[in-house]
Symmetry: C2
Subunit: 350 residues, 2 copies
Amino acid sequence: MDLTERKRRILRAIIESYIQSAEPVGSKAIAASIGMEVSSATIRNEMADLEAMGLLEKPHTSAGRIPSPKGYRFYVNELMEAHKLSLQETERMNQALRLKMQELDRVLDQAGRVVSQLTNYPAFALSSGMDKVTIRRFDLLMVEHNAFIIVVMTDTNVVRNRLIRLPSDLTEAQLQMLNTLLNTTFTGLTLAEITPELMRVAQHAAGEAYGLISLVVSFAMEVLEGLEQRRVHTSGLAHLLELPEYQSLDRAQPLMSYLSEDSDPARFPVPKDDPMRILIGPENVADALKDTSVVVASYDIGEGMRGVIGVVGPTRMDYAKITARLSYLAEGLSRLFGQGELPQGKGDEN
Amino acid sequence: MDLTERKRRILRAIIESYIQSAEPVGSKAIAASIGMEVSSATIRNEMADLEAMGLLEKPHTSAGRIPSPKGYRFYVNELMEAHKLSLQETERMNQALRLKMQELDRVLDQAGRVVSQLTNYPAFALSSGMDKVTIRRFDLLMVEHNAFIIVVMTDTNVVRNRLIRLPSDLTEAQLQMLNTLLNTTFTGLTLAEITPELMRVAQHAAGEAYGLISLVVSFAMEVLEGLEQRRVHTSGLAHLLELPEYQSLDRAQPLMSYLSEDSDPARFPVPKDDPMRILIGPENVADALKDTSVVVASYDIGEGMRGVIGVVGPTRMDYAKITARLSYLAEGLSRLFGQGELPQGKGDEN
DNA sequence: CATTAGCACTCAGAGAGTTTGAGTGCTAAA
DNA sequence: TTTAGCACTCAAACTCTCTGAGTGCTAATG
């Protein structure tokens, strides 16, 4: 798609004006806005050309033009200039990143929330799961004569624990034995490899403490399961209602519902290769997103996992600004706990 | 407030009709609905009386009547009959409760989500924090020569852990020493009692390993802090838009925003004594809730904490149904982990 | 040949006026 | 005390008209 320099300038002016105002743009306004010595009639001719190429469209005969999805795509690929982040903006994000991030879940939630506040669009955050995680070691800590703590660590350095209370008493020696048995039998196995047969064999070996084995192992399995699971967090949904395109309930409601039912991570696009991806209108697979745009960025969470944060908005969203912020934040997050090391030297992997 | 039996029946019929339809109720409809041998004119007279008492109001002269907040209050206190839960409903809730509940945070989230799905109204869930929690014990587990796990257990039986990686190596003996020092110095203290002076003393005692002390203790402090914190989860916001009273954006938007900014738990009402509380329209403190009703139930989370779940909706919400469901769920939650014991014998306190 | 001025044409949206019908309050009779 | 009857009210829906921003086309211009 080749365009003369003038057409490019006009297209760009139209898109940027429409991004601002959400109102169809007329030839006169453009003639005035670009500092060029051409009349509105000329602009009209150019606009007709751009429309013929499929880059613009008309809501109706006597309105101005609005960009088509194809137009946005061209803008994003060729016309858009990188948005410079203000000091204020980066400071805001840095501050958000510095928050105490205790659990992965909470980090995601937090990340989504920050993005949403920063962009004034709804945001979502999800983690892509892993399915070859194994348990690296078990530790059993005696607490009282009838209670102990299971500590389980995976090969991806995730540590989880649970307190177990028993109806009967337990000796330190028993616990020790159990511990050894667990570490020899159940380490290095993926969730799928922990079979009922294996369980039966282990229970047999455990003698008296055979009931405890299944207790501990089922906890370990829960942990592995939890790591496989992908969860989505959405936030800032209410921002939708502030946008002129969602003043009509008919348009807001379906999208709103779609985004709220955040149970299914599959419905959210995940960038394949690139760290950042923009999906404009019909480029989205999901029907409910057909006339919205989605910008997603991915970041390294360490432990072999990648996190994804994204923003959903009308097709006329300010791509330059959004991509700048999103990628800054994604980078920050990568840095933050991609290495398992926080700037302050806190290695939180819980 | 004394009413004749007939007035009671009429008021109840009006309220229940309005709960269903959200449309002002006319005298004729009522005359037909209650199986009574009276004409609409009589009903009109009675309605005029009820209006004089402040139980009903008119949106405008030529419309039917709608209940006033006072009317709802009367209904809730005296007229409402307990809603019977269907087998299907209880089954649905039981199923939700049976879900694997790993972390408190997730439980809250889940509880709110279930309520919201069950009632078709937005729901919120929050935990009221504790501030006299202390650390009961520390355990340090060596993982590699330069990494160990901190396991911390509070007097409320919450167990948390973190993996720490060090730039330098560490001996088992050092770790042992550290462990003892921590257990003698920092157990039994609330967050406020862990003073900088105490830290300095301990660091001095730790000799070589003085840097590690602050690492571990600051993690412990984070844990205590986390338990003090109250967090809110809202869900099902999109349901608002399905209701006729929120078809106008002007009404939906402020409420939506209010509920979305879930950072501040203070904005959500917490029932003081009763296990269940109903706040009708202006009975709410927050301005944004002035013409909505809120139903909240609290439940025991064990560990001396109480959880709160609630539903927000228009004043005409179906109080009978909502209270029934909410209290069933709250009871279930209390049972579920109030005792620290799950039905299946899983004592999850992570 | 590209550009421009001029003009007729289009059409969504705002505003004004009209109609409709559900519902009320009052009065007089049962 | 209840009821039938009737005049009255008023929001909501509908229709009609007007307005003005914006277009496309044509003919003139450099």
